[in-house]
Symmetry: C2
Subunit: 199 residues, 2 copies
């Protein structure tokens, strides 16, 4: 770990902010996590708000751009959907707190979302537009493609954000069993979406 001080702060902030959100996170906690003093955080990032925005912007754009490759490939639409679902569940599994973090912050302060849309290179708009166009232009379904995307994302994200409740109610709080459930979901969601789209 010979990364620069600024990088250490950034990485620590990322971990804490994702776990606790902007309001729940404490500068002291981030300093501890980074193994240094609180004052250094302000030396490098002036304010908590600044630090948060840097982290959020990065997470937001990276989380979306990761899926863009899938849509730009030369697979068939059906194959793209399958790859997308596999990748998306893997991505969330590796960053299980990110979806709720994003949902939280865009609801807490919509202004952040607006600036994100313009400043970030994520262009979630374009990514999802490609997706919509893909489904629509191939006549895979007569249904408003936005409903398909919302259903797909809901089915993928909900098991992560609702995990504490679901795991307790349905799995006797057995973490392993719930992980197994999550891996099964790939095939379930594929089946549901394809059945719906292809009729």
């Amino acid at each position: 770990m010979d990364s620069s001080t600024e990088e250490k702060i950034y990485e620590a902030a990322r971990r804490i902010f994702v776990l606790k959100g902007m309001e729940g996170a404490r500068m002291q906690e981030i300093a501890d996590e980074a193994g240094m003093n609180k004052a250094l955080l302000h030396y490098y990032f002036r304010s908590k708000e600044n630090l948060f925005k840097a982290v959020f912007k990065d997470i937001f754009s990276k989380f979306f751009s990761r899926v863009r490759g899938t849509l730009n490939s030369d697979l068939t639409t059906r194959e793209k959907l399958i790859v997308f679902i596999d990748n998306y569940i893997d991505l969330i599994s590796a960053n299980p707190y990110v979806p709720q973090f994003i949902i939280n912050e865009i609801n807490r302060d919509p202004k952040v979302l607006k600036s994100m849309m313009f400043e970030s290179g994520a262009e979630p708009q374009r990514i999802l537009e490609m997706f919509l166009h893909e489904v629509h232009s191939n006549n895979l379904s007569k249904i408003d493609p936005r409903h398909i995307v919302v259903s797909l994302l809901g089915m993928l994200i909900f098991p992560f954000v609702g995990r504490p409740l679901l795991q307790m109610i349905y799995f006797n709080d057995d973490t392993e069993a719930y992980n197994q459930f999550l891996t099964e979901r790939k095939e379930i969601v594929k089946t549901m979406i394809l059945k719906f789209i292809e009729g």
Copy 2:
């Protein structure tokens, strides 16, 4: 508005907590909303934590018990599903910030969830067990019924918690258009779930 002081506090707290969560809410803000002084909140509810728990427990149990009637009726399973989806979207539409509020707090402090499970009369466990049993015993699907419930809830809840992002990306921030989208969802979700269950 001739309700008692305690009721006024409770109602104000409910509105503020649902909008801003436990950490985001301020006692001063709740006092303002209730049209009285901050000290009265402590007089009636001793602490912020106490006030929050009273509100959360109530919301949590009411939100679940509202759907129990559906499952206890003498409709067919297919009809129950349809009624459930209609009722659930109506319920969330009338309380659009509640799902995220619940998701947030169960992730923020799992202990609250555990006490809720025992203390509240909601028994979400039993409600959803009835649902699972219903689908399973009627041989409507060979798939683990938990996947069906998670998919169903995800499809219903996500358009509400992801609203700021979705409305901006897909609907040019047009609130009316998004509301229209939400009413359409009833039929979409019914179709998707039934197609999946009935093969």
